[in-house]
């Protein structure tokens, strides 16, 4: 169901992070982080609060600007060109069309309907023909189970529905890589399952995903690799079975004791589905 | 900037204009606030006649340009037998006009006041004027601080309109320096900077009230 994979080399990887560091003032949030993600992998970033997981994720598409290090998507640098020049808005925007992002608080555009939200970027950024964009948008909404809500405004949707629209919206750009920033943390427990189900299907279909999450059952079931961060460094990485049943570091063990004791009911439901 | 030297030479006139502006504004603001506090309960009264009268007055003042109102008070009232000099007319216009605004501000602040502390005060035996002064008024003023500050700044600026009835306030002083010495830029810029100073003083006051409010939130 999910492929356990060894970390790829930088050349073969779809996404390559090298020596990423970032500080907010005096606080060093990311300390010399490097890892690679191969095509089709689902990597889950786990760690306690304050470990830097979200900041690391946001450095991938340069929503946060790393103080040091490089980000390569399919060999192409993001943020700083090969000449060492920091990229401007235009160049960065072009690269960002290849990376999709799903946000913790959904970030849907409230003045647009569900369908318009999904169509907005393909239409106005990728400038694809309207009929084609509409057909694909409807297909995506169908895929996440929300086609019947296409003319509704986001304010009328539940949290779980909003997040599924958020996923459809990110997919509409046909990205090579999907980033998830704690996609279910803002949801009521009974709505978590519907979103995780969509994510699990995406992983199965071979989408390359990097997911920051606290849903341990999901990580265990759907991830092809776990990257465990603590205090800004990668402490441990490996296949989920190995990480969850026999963590090799003490810090990972402490973390699992605290967090992985009781999977949420919804997550358990998918695991058993 | 020789012109500014000329203005500096006339600083007595300018500062006396400033003083008049301050006096006008402060007196009007305080009186308008006091009268507005009396009018506000009428605005919220359940009895239809007083509520309607109060509402009509407030809406009329809110929709009337102050300069026109000042003209009416100064030029129009004599034909009714009331003879005001320009100081009295200016003060009357400012106070009457802003009473309506102050009443509206207090009404708005009252509408968002929590009711439990007042109920508690009743339970403890507070009533009448003591209830009003010690329990109702302080939180009301604290919460309305910024808006009242804004209105005070508005009063300062409206006082400048009174130059039309030859009240010797700041703009009038700048105007007369300008017309006598042909230094329009220097004279009016000096006035503008002084108005700005007044505004900053009021805003500092509002900030202080805001800090008091925060400490009690």
């Amino acid at each position: 169901m999910r492929r356990e994979s060894p970390p790829p080399s930088a050349e073969a990887a779809l996404l390559s992070l090298g020596n990423i560091s970032k500080s907010f003032g005096a606080l060093k949030v990311l300390d010399d982080i490097s890892f690679n993600v191969a095509r089709g992998e689902t990597v889950c970033l786990l760690g306690p609060s304050g470990s830097g997981k979200s900041t690391l994720l946001r450095c991938i598409n340069w929503l946060e600007r790393p103080d040091a290090g490089r980000v390569l998507l399919d060999g192409q640098p993001i943020g700083v060109s090969s000449g060492g020049v920091v990229m401007g808005d235009r160049e960065l925007s072009l690269l960002r069309t290849r990376i999709g992002m799903v946000f913790q608080h959904f970030a849907l555009w409230p003045h647009l309907t569900v369908l318009q939200n999904v169509m907005e970027a393909p239409l106005h950024v990728q400038k694809r023909p309207k009929a084609e964009v509409r057909d694909e948008a409807e297909a995506l909404l169908q895929r996440v189970g929300l086609l019947q809500k296409k003319d509704v405004f986001p304010a009328r949707l539940s949290g779980g529905q909003k997040q599924r629209v958020g996923i459809a919206r990110a997919l509409a750009m046909k990205p090579a890589l999907l980033l998830f920033d704690e996609p279910t943390s803002a949801l009521d427990p009974e709505l978590v399952g519907e979103v995780l189900a969509v994510m699990r299907d995406l992983a199965r279909d071979g989408m390359t995903m990097v997911v920051v999450t606290h849903e341990m059952a999901f990580a265990r079931e759907a991830a092809s690799r776990i990257v465990f961060l603590d205090k800004g460094s990668i402490v441990e990485t490996g296949p989920p079975e190995a990480f969850f049943s026999a963590p090799s570091t003490e810090r990972a063990r402490q973390f699992l004791l605290r967090y992985a004791s009781a999977p949420t009911a919804a997550a358990a439901a998918i695991v058993n589905a | 900037m020789h012109d500014f030297g000329v203005v500096w030479g006339q600083r007595g006139l300018l500062f006396s204009g400033l003083a008049n502006t301050v006096v006008l504004s402060v007196v009007s603001a305080v009186c308008a606030l006091a009268l507005g506090a009396l009018l506000a309960p009428l605005l919220m009264a359940r009895a239809k006649a007083p509520a309607f009268a109060a509402r009509s007055f407030v809406d009329a003042m809110r929709c009337t340009p102050f300069l026109l109102f000042a003209y009416i008070v100064y030029y129009g009232l004599p034909s009714l037998g009331i003879n005001f000099d320009n100081w009295q007319a200016g003060l009357a216009a400012l106070v009457l006009y802003n009473t309506a605004y102050m009443a509206e501000i207090l009404r708005g602040a009252w509408a968002v006041q929590p009711v439990q502390p007042i109920e508690a005060a009743h339970a403890f035996g507070f009533s009448g004027f003591r209830l009003f002064r010690r329990i109702v008024l302080p939180p009301l003023l604290l919460s309305a601080g910024p808006v009242l500050g804004n209105q005070t700044i508005q009063i300062v600026k409206d006082s400048a309109f009174l130059t039309i009835i030859a009240l010797p306030e700041l703009t009038h002083a700048a105007s007369s320096i300008q017309s006598r010495f042909y230094v329009p830029f220097a004279a009016f810029i000096s006035a503008v900077l002084l108005y700005w100073l007044l505004c900053l003083v009021v805003e500092a006051g509002v900030a202080a009230v805001g800090r008091m409010a925060e400490a009690r939130r």
């Binding site: 069309t97 555009w109 106005h124 950024v125 | 830029f185 108005y195």
Partner: protein, 214 residues
């Protein structure tokens, strides 16, 4: 007061409304431009705009008008009463509009912008399609309030000789030794216009009472 007098006041009203309209139409985009400069925090421009807006908001319109009317010709820019009037109205209202737009910009949810950024929308596109439509909705009550305030200060134009409602009323009152009736006509003209704007503002506020940026 004769009918001729009433007509004269009405003609003044046309002048008042025309100049108000120009001030409003110019003040809206200029205010937005100033707000964007402040929001973008450009190194030199942003603090300059902050000082400019603070000064203009503290300055009485009559003082600004007299300054422009007398000082500009002195430095070689010939302005008549109407030009001085329009410029001062526009400067004044654009400064207040700037604060209205800026309050809405500061309230704008960052994550909607990040979502747009993450999909490769460039700055101009983000502003046009995501920020502006919502910004207008949220700013509308404040902007309408500013419009009603602008109309209420237009009598100041009379001070420099523009023949608006107020000046017409004053002239007729002086000629006929009956100052009150023309003033009442003038108020009868202002009241419904301002009242209409205030009602419009209340209507817009009620319609969007359910949360600004959702």
């Amino acid at each position: 007061m004769s009918w001729g007098d009433v007509v004269a006041i009405l003609q003044g009203a046309v002048t008042t409304l025309t100049l108000s309209a120009i001030g409003i139409l110019l003040g809206l985009p200029i205010g937005l431009g100033l707000a964007l400069i402040r929001w973008s925090r450009l190194p030199l421009a942003s603090p300059l705009v902050a000082v400019y807006v603070s000064l203009l908001r503290a300055t009485p319109l009559v003082t600004l008008l007299l300054l422009l009317f007398f000082a500009l010709p002195n430095v070689g820019i010939p302005v008549g009463p109407i030009e001085a009037g329009v410029i001062s109205l526009t400067m004044n209202t654009s400064a207040f509009n700037c604060e209205v737009w800026r309050a809405a910009l500061m309230d704008f949810p960052k994550d909607q912008l990040e979502a747009a950024q993450s999909m490769g929308m460039r700055r101009g596109l983000r502003f046009r399609r995501i920020v502006l439509p919502q910004l207008v909705k949220v700013s509308l009550p404040g902007l309408i309030n500013e419009m009603s305030l602008l109309i209420k200060v237009t009598p100041v134009l009379a001070v420099v000789g523009v023949v608006d409602v107020t000046r017409a009323a004053v002239r007729i009152g002086a000629e006929s030794y009956e100052p009150l009736p023309p003033f009442f006509v003038a108020i009868a003209i202002y009241l419904p216009i301002v009242f209409a704007l205030v009602s419009l503002q209340r209507f817009v506020e009620r319609r969007h009472a359910g949360g600004a940026f959702a």
